[in-house]
Symmetry: C2
Subunit: 357 residues, 2 copies
């Protein structure tokens, strides 16, 4: 990526120090429970220790970035909802009435709403939890022309980096979630997955918010046309992003890269956020160490991303809302893992006998 | 069951009014999200509406009952831990240092520790979160003689009912979790599952706290011997409980029955708690409506219980600690579902357009 801020971020993303996994496991094995009996909570605790480089990690400040943008490909009739829903939902987020607001409150996380490219102007003066990083008023229809220019793709990733860095500058952040809002964005996401992983389009395309068979056929067709028209380079994530991507997807990639550069664990929401993670991973493979996948989406394309990056999600609650809702639940699980690590008594503290040899 | 308290409880356990499922779904479908997009959170919210009979359910008071007892079958060398760990862990619970204490704090739940039959006297005077319902100082070794008498089996179930009712009398309870502590209790649980479901012993027996191959062989052999010696009647759960059960498993069944009689949802922990639910279900099939399974244990026997009762657990985090730790996480998820139901804005409140017809 050719830009100073981006280069500065990327060079700071180092693989985690694997020695921390063993150090963390040593403490976990001394806690009053059979070894390994807390399963994936132990894995998550050890990962957060390794990411943060702290043997008493804190998850005090939790922030969920909900990145919003519109998609020109909606012209093809690929969504059950009209595009006006994107800004309507942004206002719903800002008023605190959406699913992500409820679940973020439940786990004690802030929600920061980022306009990456909503089709209309968002009026949110004085709203502290809103950031305007608008790249453009929606992408172009990738069935006819590239979704965005190369400059716009870079601006989207940079906007995400800036959003993270500004929020971090206010106060240290200990874990983030990333989520999305954008009518039409499962179409863009499936196109990205097909382009990068080489999977067949139909196998990585789902029904998004719940479209009927006719719209589903149109959706697959739109993605196939876009990919065959632009032939994005599977090895060049910025090329893929510009040809068939979305501003919020680029923004999510940027937030993830910036968080990794600050050693902050990232809880990735469902399908669209996973595509943001895929772009980030293709830009810099070291981010793999910093990302946790919150839940298995019912969108089939997410599985291809998980296979490609090589990770397993924490939850499977058959959710497909986006916004960061799955990430919020995942952050709740991550915090429980960290509290286990920090707060449980050891065998010697509690005077409990260990397993017989 | 022949006893007045038990009869009074059982006759109050009615199937839930299914009209509430539709009422709940109507509200869920009006919230600002695509229909069904919150997956199992919607299912859980609707179930809690139906169980409580309230269209604005509250989960204000959350209580986890951790039921402890010892097992005579430990003589057969079937556990990796010495029996003294049961009382040691009870004291760890009472001091707040165990896994269940940490996870209960995380979800805002109280832990009530119930001595159902620990092998030594528990000194816990003045501890408000402790209940003494000791049936006896551990069960007998079921490889040689029945684990308990018929009277003891009844006393165990009654002790659980009383523990719930006393806690409820202090203040209304809105959701409970049930968990266990008892060295040797996966052996008893596998025996119960094999007896009631008719599954082959080896297929429903796991490695508990983590035993080696030799102990695992002994464990399967002990269960086979016990079942062939006592031939418990698969149709009579109290007979099964008395022949191969545990006091804490009977106690868990009692807590569940009493909660169902008060229309309180029950989050069932892992394998041992699922066996308590199996006993409760066999005593009164209507309890099915009131129980939610928190997580899939890695103990294979739990799958047979889930198939038998016909439910699907919420989480799969590869946990096998017991104590109610999985139930605590499940209660966190249930509360997020109830908050979604109560707090999210509707389409009309938020001025958001609905899906195109």
């Amino acid at each position: 990526m050719s830009c100073r801020l981006a280069d500065e971020v990327l060079e700071k993303i180092e693989p985690v120090d694997v020695a921390y996994y063993a150090k963390a496991q040593r403490r976990l094995d001394n806690l009053t429970k059979p070894k390994g009996s807390l399963g994936r909570l132990e894995e998550i605790a050890a990962r957060i220790v390794a990411i943060s480089g702290k043997l008493k990690p804190s998850l005090e400040r939790k922030v969920i970035f909900t990145m919003a943008a519109d998609h020109g490909v909606c012209e093809e009739g690929i969504s059950a909802y009209p595009q006006e829903v994107t800004p309507q939902m942004v206002y719903n987020f800002l008023r605190g009435g959406a699913g992500i607001n409820v679940l973020a409150r439940h786990v004690g996380a802030e929600v920061i709403v980022v306009d990456m490219g909503v089709k209309e102007k968002i009026s949110a003066e004085g709203q502290k939890n809103f950031k305007d990083k608008k790249v453009n008023f929606g992408t172009r229809n990738f069935v006819r022309e590239p979704a965005m220019t190369e400059e716009e793709a870079l601006k989207a990733v940079m906007g995400g980096m800036e959003a993270f860095q500004e929020a971090y500058a206010d106060k240290e952040i200990n874990i983030i979630g990333v989520g999305d809002m954008g009518i039409g964005n499962t179409t863009s996401s499936s196109a990205i997955v097909a382009a990068i992983t080489g999977e067949d389009t139909a196998l990585v395309t789902g029904r998004g918010t719940g479209i009927d068979d006719i719209s589903y056929g149109r959706k697959i067709e739109a993605i196939r046309k876009g990919l065959s028209l632009h032939r994005p380079d599977p090895k060049d994530p910025m090329d893929v992003l510009s040809k068939v991507g979305g501003f919020e997807i680029g923004g999510i990639a940027g937030v993830i890269l910036a968080a990794a550069s600050r050693k902050v664990p990232v809880m990735v929401d469902g399908f669209i956020a996973s595509c943001g993670a895929l772009i980030a991973f293709e830009i810099c493979r070291n981010v793999r160490d910093y990302i946790l996948f919150a839940h298995q989406s019912i969108e089939a394309g997410q599985l291809a991303v998980l296979r490609h990056i090589g990770q397993k999600p924490l939850l499977d609650l058959e959710m497909r809302l986006g916004e960061g809702t799955g990430a919020a639940l995942g952050i709740g699980i991550a915090e429980s893992a960290v509290r286990i690590f920090n707060e449980m008594a050891t065998f010697s503290e509690a005077g409990v006998s260990e397993a017989e040899p």
